[in-house]
């Protein structure tokens, strides 16, 4: 019995450490992440089925606001272009919109405010696990897209940002056209009845309320409509996506 017991103990201990080492080997292999990644496509399709693209994120009340809306990632972009804009209180800021559009245009924050001014109180869910609730003021991205005229072959909206996570590696993000046209998808210039704080992405950031925090690009410099993002940076559609995070950040 003791033989059997010590054998079992050895077997279980050995198997556990083998499995763990095996999992780490698979994580670092070229094929492992590709297999595991199959779940991403399944998540996207099934979630689109269960929660249609028209489904709305819950909107909260002023009583639900986070006392402090925390900042993650860059809190102060150091690029000269951004510092120059900041020095002038963003008065020279122009959002560039181009790519597969009929009329490439640029917008000041006041231009955007003239299109419309909407507010929403939604929850921000970070991929790390925390949540915060903020009141966002901005313009629906769909209205900006209507101004420039999106060409039929455009499939994605790419957001190029002023902040560099590492020198020479600017932050960027992308969403597909249905997500970009969702009524809760905003280009936001304000948070909690004030201009957007620098740590939260001033002068303009993206809000896609049904996806995780890393999708909510801050410090947007330029919007580009593309039919594929394979040629941009690492080719995965976003800064964190190039480091192995899912492009579809609905879960």
């Amino acid at each position: 019995m003791t033989d059997r017991r010590s054998f079992l103990r050895l077997a279980i201990g050995g198997a556990a450490s083998l499995v763990l080492a095996g999992c780490d080997r698979i994580s670092e292999s070229s094929w492992g992440p590709k297999v595991l990644n199959k779940a991403q496509g399944l998540n996207r399709r099934v979630q689109a089925l269960l929660a249609p693209s028209s489904a709305m994120a819950k909107e909260y009340t002023e009583a639900d606001l986070s006392p402090v809306f925390r900042s993650n990632g860059t809190a102060m972009p150091t690029t000269p272009a951004y510092q120059a804009l900041l020095a002038n209180g963003f008065r020279d800021y122009r959002l560039q919109v181009g790519g597969l559009v009929d009329r490439p245009m640029s917008f000041s924050i006041d231009d955007l405010k003239q299109i419309e001014q909407v507010a929403q109180i939604t929850r921000h869910d970070c991929v790390e696990g925390w949540s915060a609730i903020g009141k966002w003021h901005g313009v629906r991205l769909s209205h900006v897209l209507d101004k420039v005229g999106v060409q039929a072959k455009a499939r994605y909206v790419v957001f190029h940002c002023y902040d560099e996570m590492d020198p020479g590696e600017p932050y960027y993000e992308s969403v597909d056209i249905p997500e970009a046209r969702h009524p809760q998808t905003l280009l936001a210039w304000g948070l909690n009845d004030k201009p957007l704080p620098i740590k939260n992405g001033a002068p303009l950031r993206l809000r896609v309320s049904r996806q995780l925090g890393y999708k909510q690009a801050k410090y947007i410099a330029r919007i580009e409509l593309v039919d594929s993002f394979a040629h941009i940076a690492g080719g995965n559609g976003g800064y964190w996506e190039d480091y192995g995070y899912e492009w579809y950040a609905g879960i």
């Binding site: 992440p33 199959k38 979630q47 929850r123 192995g244």
Partner: protein, 300 residues
């Protein structure tokens, strides 16, 4: 209503070694297969889940994670001697847990700030993106396997017959509790039947833990919350859902510990053989004709 005999006695064992009892075909292959798939899926889900938890190693209630309002936090601070101290806070109580929680050895062996230690996480090093990949892949394995299990065991009436307690089971609950406390287990034919505590444990694990952990996982998905927000609000908010998800995960661990303990004290080898090959030995010599009279004994 007699179902055909499902108890097979292997001829060789029954004839050559009657004193050692007889082998009974207890678990059908789909149940065995789904059991072991579940073992793999749950282990990987648990450990990759702890990797994900480590990215924000604290728990809150409600919809927000306001700093200072956590109900549980695995944290680190610098000790007076300049060494990292791992701290676990539960509400307002603080425990030093250096080496296991808050601070534990990193890949280079040096103390590192991390919620759960690397030997409990998949992957071992801090790697949230990869932890998520493992978690979501095996979440699908767990869900599809669980649906197959429910469909199969409802269709074969395994669920209704072997898991749902009978009136007699309920009447025997007092005795069953006493028996469990005394580690007294039934022998012979009686060992083939799930007792009331076993039935309740399996039902709670399958219906409450299994379904609950999947729903709480989905309640953390911002896209799903567009349609699930009544559920999210019903449990108190997204952070509450995250906390419940975490608690159920440890509920599974508690179940597995008790389950494995019971397997060991009732004969680890015999039980493992039962769940691997299907054949389970009962310590009783068969009387002639008994095998033919026995009714449903298979637990699958």
């Amino acid at each position: 209503m007699n179902s055909p005999s499902l108890v097979d006695t292997t001829p060789d064992t029954a004839m050559t070694a009657p004193s050692r009892g007889r082998l009974v075909y207890r678990h059908r292959w789909p149940i065995r297969l789904m059991h072991w798939i579940n073992v793999i899926a749950l282990s990987i889900l648990f450990m990759s889940g702890l990797q994900i938890f480590n990215a924000h190693p604290s728990l809150s209630l409600g919809n927000r994670s306001d700093p200072g309002k956590e109900i549980l936090a695995l944290d680190a601070r610098m000790g007076a001697d300049g060494k990292l101290v791992g701290v676990t806070r539960i509400g307002r109580h603080e425990f030093v847990t250096t080496g296991v929680l808050g601070v534990s050895a990193g890949p280079d062996g040096q103390p590192q700030v991390r919620g759960f230690p690397s030997w409990l996480t998949i992957p071992g090093p801090r790697w949230l993106a990869m932890g998520r990949q493992w978690h979501f892949f095996f979440a699908w394995v767990f869900v599809l396997n669980g649906l197959c299990y429910l469909g199969y065991s409802l269709a074969t009436r395994h669920f209704q017959r072997d898991l749902v307690p009978t009136k007699q089971d309920w009447r025997g609950i007092g005795r069953s509790i006493v028996d469990h406390i005394k580690f007294k287990h039934p022998h012979g034919e009686e060992a083939l039947r799930y007792n009331i505590l076993q039935r309740l444990a399996y039902l709670v694990v399958i219906l409450v833990f299994g379904i609950g952990i999947v729903l709480m996982g989905l309640a953390m998905s911002p896209r799903m919350d567009a349609v699930l927000s009544p559920l999210v609000e019903a449990v108190g908010g997204r952070q509450s859902a995250r906390t419940i998800h975490f608690i159920i995960a440890w509920g599974f661990v508690a179940f597995v510990l008790i389950h494995v303990f019971e397997v060991i004290i009732t004969g680890a080898f015999n039980q493992l053989r039962g769940m691997i090959t299907g054949w389970y030995r009962i310590d009783e010599t068969p009387t002639p004709g008994e095998a033919g009279e026995a009714t449903e004994n298979r637990h699958d």
